[in-house]
Symmetry: C2
Subunit: 312 residues, 2 copies
């Protein structure tokens, strides 16, 4: 049975956009529940400016605690630049991600740098991280469409991916930041990308804005992708991209992949615990496309267990 690898991004991409601020203890509990559900790769936090993203102000404390308390996890963290990398290293990071938007305007809006400077910054950060012995990931954001520039040409993606390869990056994550991809475009994009970049070096990051995240993930699986970002309960969104909604839900991806013959080593029951906890903490309902059905199955099981125990 073939395996897929999921990086659950709910503690970072999921939380950074929420109006409710979670305590470090609550985030630890969330990450502990993810680990209990079988996840091994979790995007824990982001070493960005605490003033621009208050949800991530506890990055260093949180990462240290995660490393101490959950040795079974491979935590990954986002760093915007060399300064963020330094903070992440002090907190014990073994893996970092950088984010490179694929268009000039998106970079300017997001980090006030043009595409050339942003690429250089990401290369420098990846090279420095490699020299510290870290595993590295590079996101190519707005990889399908940019809210400001429209369709992102696939040759642009290839060129940027090659720039990151030149910096010895380990993994390149193709991010459908505004959730505008379609399965046909995913298939076509991967068939071109695959000519220059080994499929096992690529991962996909989808948002479910238009309800096509699972179809897109299936097209990626059929295109040879085995590494995915996902967020339990579909928690998330991108604060800098107008119209971006929640991520591909981990439970949807697991349900689809397991039911299609892939191994994930993730327990859906455990993901339901994560969702219940997270929706209480952020104070709004969560859940991907399969959630109402999954929750009903759990209720049926609970009800049966309760009735049976009553008559024992």
């Amino acid at each position: 049975m073939e395996s897929i690898w999921i990086t659950d991004v709910s503690p970072r991409d999921g939380l950074q956009n929420q109006s409710k601020l979670l305590s470090t203890g609550d985030k630890l509990a969330l990450i502990g529940l993810l680990a209990a559900a079988g996840l091994r790769r979790v995007e824990v936090t982001s070493f960005v400016s605490p003033t621009s993203v208050p949800q991530m102000a506890d990055a260093a404390d949180l990462l240290s605690l995660v490393i101490q308390q959950f040795p079974q996890l491979q935590p990954t963290v986002l760093v915007p630049n060399l300064r963020g990398l330094e903070r992440a290293r002090h907190a014990g990071a073994g893996e970092i991600s950088v984010v490179l938007a694929a268009t000039e305007t998106m970079n300017r809006k997001n980090i006030k740098q043009g595409l050339t400077d942003a690429t250089q910054n990401c290369q420098d950060t990846v090279r420095a991280a490699k020299s510290m012995g870290m595993r590295t990931r590079a996101y190519l954001a707005v990889a399908f469409d940019c809210p400001f520039e429209g369709v992102t040409p696939v040759p642009t993606l290839i060129a940027l991916a090659q720039q990151m390869q030149a910096a010895q990056v380990d993994e390149i994550v193709i991010a459908d930041t505004i959730g505008s991809a379609t399965p046909g475009r995913v298939r076509d994009c991967l068939s071109i990308l695959g000519q220059g970049i080994p499929m096992n070096q690529l991962a996909m990051h989808f948002h479910d804005t238009r309800g096509l995240a699972t179809a897109n993930a299936w097209a990626a699986l059929e295109g040879g992708i085995r590494r995915f970002d996902a967020s339990t309960g579909g928690l998330g969104g991108c604060p800098f991209a107008p119209g971006a909604a929640g991520n591909l839900a981990t439970e949807d991806l697991v349900l689809m992949a397991q039911g299609s013959g892939f191994q994930t080593n993730i327990e859906i029951g455990g993901l339901l615990d994560v969702i219940e906890f997270a929706q209480l903490k952020i104070d709004r309902p969560l859940g991907g496309r399969s959630y109402s059905w999954l929750a009903l199955q759990k209720l049926k099981g609970d009800l049966e267990a309760r009735l049976l125990s009553q008559f024992k």
Copy 2:
């Protein structure tokens, strides 16, 4: 550009399970809106017993009116047997569908006949319809899983499909009645079915119970399927199958297919009109997985139009 053909089943599969009874005039309006959105193939009604399915009691009147008022449509109707076929013929039907559940138990629960008798009944009905010059479709229901018997073996599907071919049926519709299919199973099923049955004779009918309907439809498209059932707003469900939920939403399929390079000749804006009308009439919210995003785009457009007109 390749085309796909959608049979919108909202007036039949969509309505038959609703507690609110729609008048013949309301159903005509619904069908008129579907036609206005560009749909050409619509499952109008079912010639079943009015006592078991009161929503379909006006079948003959409705079909006659649809034929008179919407000459651009190719209406299709469901008939359970020769008696239903006779009623459909009197009302002017040019195309009928029969439903054959793929398992013994499902047939017994549904129509109080075993699989052998049910197959014979469908063959007789199709043969009679062909002799009247009608186009014919045969549904193979519970084609992936049966709520009573579990997994439906693909060889069973092939055998039943061949029985229907023997009766000269024009189209065979593989129906995921309880919405339990996964894209991997769809791909595998079609690669086997395709060895015995021409792909252009097959159609797929999905339910979105577990949130995988669009992913399943994409797997079917990649497997060579170009004919789909869908229901605008995801309206629907099967009253005889425990756990069955709404159909694959027409707007989700159109959004995915058009965005992946297929032609549908359907206007999504028109589908939003159908959804608005239908949810008022059945008095509950509707909409597929893309609906919240689509509705937001429409609101933005309306708002812009209103503001612009104000300052003109």
